[in-house]
Structure formats: C-alpha cells, structure tokens
Symmetry: C2
Subunit: 251 residues, 2 copies
Amino acid sequence: MPYELFYWDGIQGRGEFVRLALEDAGAEYRDVAREPEGMETMMAWLKGLGRRGVPPFAPPFLKDGEYVISHVANILHYLAPRLGLVPDDEALRAEAHGMQLTITDFIAEVHDTHHPISAADFYEDQKDEARARTAAFLTHRVPKFIGYFDRLLAASAERDVEGGDCAGHAFALGNRFTYVDLSLFQIAEGLAYAFPRALANFNDAYPRVAALREIVRQRPGVAAYLASDRRLAFNENGIFRHYPELDQIAY
Amino acid sequence: MPYELFYWDGIQGRGEFVRLALEDAGAEYRDVAREPEGMETMMAWLKGLGRRGVPPFAPPFLKDGEYVISHVANILHYLAPRLGLVPDDEALRAEAHGMQLTITDFIAEVHDTHHPISAADFYEDQKDEARARTAAFLTHRVPKFIGYFDRLLAASAERDVEGGDCAGHAFALGNRFTYVDLSLFQIAEGLAYAFPRALANFNDAYPRVAALREIVRQRPGVAAYLASDRRLAFNENGIFRHYPELDQIAY
C-alpha cells in the first residue's frame, strides 16, 4: 500500500521536505490533497472524521496503513529507515533527527520573515515589521544556521558512518547520505529563490552547502522529480517567498 | 551512569521540559551547566571540544554515555521509553512525538511574543512590535494551540492505551500518562506566569488542560521537584516572561 501524504495543494511548503525523501527513494506514495476532491478528504481528517482518536494539529501528516504521523521531522524520522535514508543505529538516527529539528526551527524563522506579527494577517499588513525581521534574519540567523551546517559538512569529510559512501562525499551525517541532505538542498533552493540579491554570495560563504545542493540535484530520483509536474514552483503562498523589498542587503 | 543534561543556567527555558521528565521518573541526572565550572564545560561541548564529530546546534542537549541527543522533543523521544513515560509501541511513540512537536512550535511562538523582530536585540528595542505580536498570540494562537490540546484531552477520556491507568484519567495519549502531559503542565504554568491578566479565564476556557495541570502538580516526583531549589522561578530571561504591558486583554 502506498504511503499517503497529506499537505496543502498549491505550495511546496513543509510538505516538500517529505516529498523529496519519498521521491529520492522512489517510494510509492499518494499526494492526497492534490488528487480530485483530495482537499475535502484532508479537511475531513483534520476534523477527526477519518480515524479513531485525535486528528493531527496541522498538515503535513503521513498515513501508513493504520499509522498516522504528524510533523515533518517526525515523518522523516519514521520514513527514513524504511526508505534507506538513515542508518538503523539509534544514536545515528537521533543525531540526524537533531539536525532535522534544527532545520525545522530555521524554517519557522523563514516563515516569520514575511509574517513577523501574525500569521492571521496578510503580509501587506506587516511589511515594515517584515523588513526589520528580514534584516535581522539575513544578518544574524542565516549565518548562524547555514554557517553551522557548512561547518558540519566540513567535519563530515573526516567521518565514516555505517553504510557510508567510500567516495568520500561529505554529507550532514559523515559520508552517509541521509534525508537531512535532501532538506539542506531544499533550504538552499528556497533561500536562492527568496533572496537572490541579499544572498548573492551564498556559494562563497557556504561552499559546502552549495556543493551539497548540486550533488543532491543530480541524484536520479531528485532530478526526475524536479523535471516532473509534481514539483511545484516556489510562489508567494509558500514559506520561501520572493518579495523584492525584503531581498535587500542587510548591512 | 547518570544522564547529563546541558542547558543554560539561570532559567527554566527549554531545558525545563527535559528536567520535568527526569524528575517525574526519579531518574539520576546531572544538570551540568549548574555545577561549578559547568558553563565552561557546556561551552567547550558546543565548540566541539568534548566529543568526536559535530557539536549540537544549541542547548539543551543530553549526554547518555556515548550518545549525544539535541533538541527537547528528540531528547524526550529518546528518554521516555527508558523512563516509562511513553509506551514502547512505535505508533504510539510517534503520536506522542507529534504532540510534543506541536508544543515545540508553540514554545517558539511564546518566545517571539517578546522578541518578534530579532533575538539579537533587547526586548526594550522591539516593544511596539512585541505588543502587536502578543495581541495576535493571545487572540489567535493560544486558542488554536491550547484549544487543540483541550479537545485532545476530551477525546482521550474514551481511549484505552497500552499501560494506561484504569482510573480513567484523561491524558494527552488516552488514559496513559506520558511526558507530553508534563510538557502541557509546563505550558500552563508558563502562560499563567506570563499572562495572568490576559488569560484570567484560562481555567474556564480550557478546563481539561487546567485539570491536567493540577494532576501533574501532585505527582510525587513533580511535587518534590517543585518544592526543591532545583526548580528555578520563572524570570524575564526565560521563554515565559511577565511584562505587564504585554499582559493585556487582546480584544
């Protein structure tokens, strides 16, 4: 039975981190809300009509038979051993999960660059605050988070991990490719879309993240996915948004 | 060997969710940064000097022998089966973890009520924006999140879970007490500290969360902890802060 992913139609959003793992692994899955009447199906689930017990707080969630798993990092933690995208070892799984939760925090901060006051209001109603928050994000938070991952990739070059690649690629978890690398690819793609001007020096500042991005892009499953109509374009309803007035050099 | 928790001294902060689980279970642990020269030890770890591989992004992190686990929800997911604070069943563990990740998101939003623009700046430099963000938080986000957990507790009254209590208590995971309940207690405590005026009707609006809070408070391990000097008071360096100018009725 294929995995069933539930996430809003029309945007990459948080669901994209799960899609990339499923697509890279060539897993069978349904993207339920994008099917005819799929949004109705998802909303029924969110109202608790589709299962016993309690509905998830919000999309994305994944259904695997009787299992219902919510939150991106939780879904990836569950899926990855089944997809071969993390070692089975508990300590290594926990380490990868910790990295993914750092990515989760970063994604929430990306969202708040355009919605610093209230997710219930339009961006247009909080533009001044969005400029201030985005300046702080570009000045402090991108270097803190992406700099961390770049150092992590540097340290990985020396680290052999169970099931790792002998070719010596540096991934987030040593020489072992995992779902964390797919998420780092998505972050690099999203930042390039949202802030092409402010982060024009991204590849120089974070060369290892930039190199990883190109390696991931060429993986067969990812390349096929990116070329398909299943990959939606970034747009201004998603998490990574390009607003020229926010895409300014922060200094 | 006792667990070693690493978290900033002087605040409850995110570390408190881990402490509550360790204390409720009566586990042996060291709160390393609160020991003499403990901050130096923690900072050395964050610089990567204390271990092979890569340091965690930020506190809290937990050391268990050779394991190093970062992020509150990841630490609790790892600890809880060992402490008897979650069933062993994978689906139930994943369900509890999903709830905890919803709590993680909420905690980030609590933090941003007083720091909506930049964590690198003082609250005093973003007071106007903090008022606006807090108004949206009290109007939209508290009802959304706490209302969700109240409905979840209501649904739990009908749900028997492996290892559950026959007495019919309603916890987050049916009739089975878990670490999620400890975290909900901490949220209720924190909101009562930060917003006593704006959330004066908390117990009426969220009666099941309020009832859970009292049940948790009376658990032997929690009661002993709260009465000890290990439990720091809330203060204005932590996540839950009481600023009278933010503690206003939002409507």
